[in-house]
């Protein structure tokens, strides 16, 4: 109601008259309810040949918390800026709240999209107090009502009592809370978070992550977060979208993506691991570290004798001192005691390092010859080479 909805409608209508075929197709696809919807989006920066994102598809449902995980340079911030309206798309469709807001012929400016955006560096207004920052998006309301509206928001982020402070008088974590309050105050259609924790130190990060999860849940806002930190993505979101080079490779619940990565690239992004080469032989993979039972992820079908990459995760492996002859053995090169467990670095004969995480220190020491197994009934995932 604070926002000029009519203007959005006008933009969409003129878009329809300008490009008939395209928008009809878009209209048909938007029957599925998504708060944020990107369909085959391509966006490139002038002066660079390759698009920053291309064939980008994403659908965020009402109330959902989705994270985009990708290494820096993958184009994830670009995707966020496309949704917010700061970048124009060269093809594909962008919908926010069911409205077409971006395509090759429609571009609704950011101020008419009703999107709450939290920037990596917060971008708070240094010339305004906390209260004025949060009120900023409530223009058009009488001053009294604005004050009333911001009180619960500030309370939710735990910043009540700081109304008259200036931004530079706040710590990094507090600034971030204000940034979130500012984004939430106008009751946006969706909340976008761009690497929200990257400017904070490690300890603060974990605490704030939990806070944000709680705040977002409380507010019920549909949220899209962008990060290069796998823990952040896995811990906060309902679904994780893993980005490869400029498009999404896999999307699913954190557990599902972690358990069943669709590709070696996704596996590497979603958790620490080693990928060692081997040969697939009906239910096992034969590698230089040993023979391991396999679990082929749902959409990959492998033939007997096919070259494969085995995904080795430290927590799924176990080592025992080498006993009988004839087994492949490797050397313990280093142990790192990390409190709850000890991490063993195992040097294979080819030079590859495997990491194994285990509890007890049972005489396996630096220099020991060991054999590598899977822990319990764990099975390794294999990918075709």
């Amino acid at each position: 109601m604070l926002w000029r909805r009519q203007k959005i409608d006008i933009s969409v209508q003129s878009g329809v008259t300008m490009g008939v075929a395209g928008s009809e197709a878009a209209g048909a696809a938007s029957t599925e309810a998504g708060v944020i919807e990107l369909q085959g989006v391509e966006c490139s920066y002038p002066g660079s040949d390759a698009p920053a994102i291309s064939e980008f598809n994403l659908l965020v449902k009402p109330g959902e918390f989705v994270s985009i995980l990708g290494r820096s340079g993958a184009g994830k911030t670009t995707a966020l800026r496309v949704v917010a309206g700061f970048e124009r798309v060269s093809s594909g469709y962008v919908r926010v709240g069911g409205q077409l807001v971006g395509s090759s012929f429609v571009h609704v400016p950011p101020d008419q999209r009703r999107i709450g955006l939290v920037f990596q560096d917060y971008a708070l207004f240094p010339h305004l107090t906390v209260a004025k920052n949060v009120e900023f998006g409530l223009k058009g309301l009488p001053a009294e009502e604005r004050r009333v509206r911001i009180a619960p928001v500030l309370k939710m982020v735990g910043m009540s009592g700081y109304e008259s402070r200036y931004v530079h008088e706040l710590s990094g974590g507090q600034q971030q809370r204000v940034a979130i309050a500012r984004a939430l105050a106008p009751d946006p259609v969706a909340l976008l978070l761009d690497e929200p924790f990257s400017n904070l130190d490690r300890q603060l990060r974990a605490a704030l992550r939990r806070d944000i999860k709680r705040i977002v849940r409380e507010s019920g806002a549909t949220t899209l977060l962008v990060t290069h930190d796998r823990e952040e993505a896995l811990a906060t979101s309902d679904r994780v979208a893993v980005m490869g080079e400029n498009s999404i490779e896999q999307i699913g619940t954190p557990e599902d993506v972690y358990q069943n990565p669709a590709s070696a690239a996704v596996a590497k992004l979603i958790g620490p691991c080693e990928l060692i080469p081997g040969v697939f032989r009906g239910g096992v993979v034969v590698t230089e570290a040993g023979v391991f039972p396999t679990r082929v992820t749902t959409d990959i079908h492998m033939a007997d004798g096919q070259q494969a990459l085995a995904l080795m995760r430290a927590s799924e492996l176990e080592i025992v001192l080498a006993g009988e002859e004839g087994q492949r053995t490797s050397t313990v090169e280093m142990t790192e005691f990390e409190g709850e467990f000890t991490e063993y670095s195992i040097r294979l004969d080819s030079g590859t390092l495997l990491r194994v995480r285990r509890r007890a220190a049972d005489g396996i020491d630096v220099g020991s010859r060991v054999t590598v197994h899977t822990r319990g009934d764990a099975k390794v995932i294999v990918f075709p080479v």
Partner: protein
């Protein structure tokens, strides 16, 4: 797509953003206005035809050429020789009274050339104060102050701060690790300065020298009082003495050509110039170097230009004032010129800052070919001597804009054209420090681009606007040729009334007005210097700063 989108569709910045239409329109108006003087001068001179060659090849023209270049070369070289040690000593060394000297060494900037000239004549002429002191020591007669020597002295004293400010800024921005690396590799302090520091300072020295050269080219009051004829003073004489102003117009065009040559020359010395970029992020402050027993000698090196360029001139003015008051001599009327000067300078400052806003915002936030063109267009004022702008506005006023002619607005117009670069420079550096995400945040909260400019951008660049305004105020206060040519008849300012008394050699009469002028000009200068801004003179910030994208985004785009 909304209507403004359609209109500004033709304007698309390098990163694909489209600025509000009104911003582009207002920037176009400003840039167009800034081009009027040169354009009109060209039109006017083309009509002259073959007389052109006669004027250029006339013997006297060649002589004026020679004298002007000789003066420019001398003033520039000596200014650099004075300013570089002063800059180094005030930034890097531990001389006593460093802070005071640091501010004071910039202040000769506030003394207008025609005031500096009167005090120099009083002190150092063959009948001057110094001669009086020295005659007791058996010195018969000082060399004649009039001519090249005196003109050089006056101009060096008032222009060395330009080099000082640019070099000081560069010294402060320079990463001390470079010098430390040289020291670690076994270079002594002197060798380090010569082989590392000095080469790093070259662009700053070139930039400062350009300001000195352009100022020397355009000065009128100082050279006229010291009877050294340059291009500018020739044009003024031509303009004031003859009915036919064609000669003045042609000479002005030559003056423009010289200014362009100087600008090109500076670009040439800058060379590939990649080393001018300072690294992003906090610059570590280097430790001051202990120069031991040279401390007081160092203080003297900094102090002497301050003494000659500021203390003595002010002392002479005070002396005249006291003597005048005691002897009940007639002083210039103060009240009305002072009021006029303040009014004009304030008006010029406000107008210029307002005019530079759209240009600065476009050039920083919406880079494109068009915004670069706008920027270049307004930098014309940077190279144009005041006399040229004033003359062409006279022609323009008489022939085109009759209602404006002989009004204050014509004068303000000239000041805007002349001082836009200073103001745009200050605004630009303020804008570059402003995180563009802050503006985007405002937009995502539902404000249109146009409203974001007023609710976020403008309040946040206020310091830059104030600095720019202060610069324009100071420059307007001191300006002489344009004030003389364009002021409505009978409209007296401090500078024009000082000039008319001084040019008839009634120096003592000018004391009160000149002191007031120095004081009033000193206020914005002190503000600029104390602000701790690394380059108080933001005119030199016109070097292309690379774009202001955040590192993460640059990385992302680069991929």
């Amino acid at each position: 797509m909304n209507i403004s989108g359609v209109i500004s569709a033709g304007y698309k910045s390098a990163d694909g953003k489209r600025p509000p239409t009104l911003l582009v329109v207002s920037a176009s108006v400003v840039a167009f206005a800034a081009l009027i003087p040169v354009a009109y001068l060209l039109i006017r001179s083309i009509g002259v035809g073959s007389e052109w060659f006669d004027i250029i090849w006339r013997q006297s023209t060649a002589a004026v050429f020679g004298r002007t270049f000789l003066l420019i070369a001398l003033v520039t070289v000596i200014s650099v020789i004075v300013a570089v040690p002063v800059a180094w000593l005030t930034v890097k060394s531990d001389i006593p009274l460093r802070r005071v000297l640091s501010v004071a060494s910039v202040l000769p900037l506030v003394v207008p050339s025609f005031v500096m000239a009167t005090t120099v004549i009083e002190m150092y002429s063959p009948k001057g104060v110094l001669q009086g002191w020295l005659s007791g020591l058996g010195v018969e007669r000082l060399p004649d102050i009039y001519g090249l020597g005196g003109a050089t002295l006056v101009l060096v004293l008032m222009t060395y701060p330009y080099v000082l400010l640019t070099v000081r800024g560069a010294l402060r921005r320079m990463d001390p690790a470079l010098e430390e690396a040289a020291r670690a590799m076994g270079y002594g302090p002197v060798h380090t300065f010569r082989s590392v520091t000095l080469p790093m300072l070259r662009p700053a020295i070139a930039g400062g020298s350009l300001l000195v050269a352009l100022y020397t080219l355009s000065d009128f009051g100082g050279v006229a009082l010291l009877r050294y004829q340059t291009f500018t003073s020739t044009i003024m004489i031509q303009y004031q003495s003859s009915i036919d102003r064609t000669l003045a117009a042609v000479l002005s065009l030559i003056l423009v050509a010289i200014a362009v040559l100087l600008l090109l020359g500076e670009g040439f010395t800058r060379g590939r110039g990649a080393y001018h970029r300072s690294t992003v992020g906090a610059v570590r402050v280097s430790r001051r170097i202990n120069i031991g027993r040279w401390r007081w000698a160092g203080a003297a090196v900094v102090g002497v230009p301050v003494l000659i360029g500021l203390v003595i001139p002010v002392a002479v003015l005070i002396h005249w004032l006291v003597r005048g008051l005691l002897n009940d001599q007639q002083l210039l009327p103060l009240l009305i010129p002072a009021r006029n000067s303040l009014y004009i300078s304030l008006l010029a400052a406000v107008t210029t800052v307002l005019a530079s806003l759209p240009i600065a915002i476009l050039s920083v936030r919406f880079k494109s070919r068009l915004s670069r063109f706008f920027e270049r267009a307004i930098y014309i004022g940077f190279g144009l001597p005041g006399v040229v702008v004033a003359l062409s506005l006279v022609f323009f006023g008489i022939n085109v804009a009759r209602p404006l002619y002989q009004s204050i607005w014509m004068l303000i117009f000239a000041f805007v054209v002349l001082f836009l670069p200073a103001s745009v420079g200050a605004l630009r550096s303020s804008l570059l420090q402003l995180n563009p995400r802050v503006e985007e945040a405002a937009q995502s909260l539902g404000r249109s681009q146009w409203r974001v400019i007023f609710s976020v951008t403008v309040p946040l660049v206020m310091p830059g606007a104030l600095a720019g305004g202060a610069m324009v105020f100071l420059l307007t206060m001191k300006e002489l040729p344009a004030t003389l040519i364009l002021s409505p008849i009978g409209y007296r300012t401090l500078s024009s009334s000082i000039w008319s008394a001084a040019s008839e050699a009634f120096f003592a009469k000018t004391a009160a007005a000149a002191l007031l002028l120095v004081l009033v000009a000193g206020v914005p200068t002190a503000y600029l210097t104390l602000r701790g801004h690394s380059d108080g003179v933001d005119e030199t910030d016109r070097v292309d700063e690379s774009d202001s994208q955040s590192p993460s985004e640059t990385a992302e785009v680069a991929q």
